[in-house]
């Protein structure tokens, strides 16, 4: 299991500028064990994430990951970088399936910095999760900064 950014240093939101990036994180390959652990932890027992016969009978090439599994990895990567208490917003759109065996590349770039109505430094980010073969599997956005 590759995890190339295991413990990135925390950033200061006030140090972020447009174009600042979160250190890219590469993890994988995604295995059935990952999906089963996620299913048990979050309670998502949709059989599309563990029943190979079923997913093939429905025309899919194989088992794919829960969308929120990928979103959650992005969330924890952002939290480790910025500080969990500084996550103000995380939005995600699922673009393509994550298949068993896929590697994931998690990245984010600052697109806007501003002060909240209460003067707290905030940064907005575009986030992306790609597969090792170049497919964009998740698009997202986030806001980090102190709560008002």
């Amino acid at each position: 299991m590759v995890d190339e950014v295991s413990n990135p240093p925390r950033v200061k939101v006030t140090d972020l500028n447009v174009g600042s990036t979160m250190p890219e994180r590469r993890i994988g390959p995604i295995t059935q064990e990952h999906l089963i652990r996620y299913a048990g932890a979050m309670g998502d027992f949709n059989p599309f994430h563990y029943d190979a016969e079923l997913v093939r009978s429905r025309g899919f090439k194989g088992i794919f990951a829960q969308g929120l599994f990928t979103a959650g990895i992005l969330g924890q990567t952002l939290a480790a970088w910025a500080g969990q208490h500084l996550i103000r917003k995380l939005g995600v759109r699922f673009a393509e399936p994550v298949w068993l065996g896929d590697n994931l590349i998690i990245s984010a770039v600052v697109t806007r910095t501003y002060s909240s109505d209460h003067g707290k430094a905030r940064a907005e980010l575009d986030c992306m999760v790609s597969s090792g073969d170049g497919r964009q599997v998740l698009k997202g956005y986030a806001t980090v900064g102190e709560a008002d």
Binding site: G40, M42, F69, G75, Q76, Q84, R88, K89, L90, R93
Partner: protein
């Protein structure tokens, strides 16, 4: 199944943020903090853990239906699960959530609307879950969008 947009009653329940659940979910999400994997003893790992970012999305397990609201609607024949797509989610945090907290949750179908596309009609269901302290302070909202491909040209 009626053609009109379905409705769903709001549900209210409490959601205890358990230390073990925070750790279990963080580990399942490959949290990069190596301390989490070292022990399942709150005396060794931090005794208060931040809730993983997406943890509120599993609050339905503590609700009366024990399934996400879109599944309740499917079980009641209000949507066709085989035509459902997951649109996206948005989490908005007004305060940090940590183990030991107990949150009051109100989950409701907040919006239903149709969009005509070149491939037919899509019906959007937006669910909003609001998480508050037991004193009523807003902590977090989670908006989930599910999309149903309506029967039409494709059958």
């Amino acid at each position: 199944m009626s053609d009109g947009p379905p409705t769903l009653e709001a549900v209210n329940f409490t959601f205890p943020i358990e230390w073990g659940k925070c750790r279990e979910v963080a580990l399942a999400l490959l949290d990069p903090d190596p301390a989490l994997a070292q022990s399942d003893d709150p005396g060794v790992v931090a005794s208060v853990l931040p809730a993983p970012v997406i943890l509120p999305a599993c609050s339905f397990r503590y609700g009366p239906q024990n399934v996400p609201p879109i599944v309740t609607m499917s079980e009641r024949g209000m949507v066709d699960r085989s035509r459902l797509l997951q649109g996206g989610l948005e989490f908005e945090f007004y305060q940090p959530i940590k183990s030991g907290d107990t949150l009051a949750v109100t989950e409701r179908l907040s919006k239903t609307y149709d969009k005509k596309t070149s491939k037919g009609v899509l019906r959007f269901f937006e669910f909003e879950a609001a998480f508050r302290t037991l004193d009523g302070e807003l902590v977090c909202t989670v908006t989930t969008t599910n999309i149903e491909r309506r029967p039409g040209e494709d059958g």
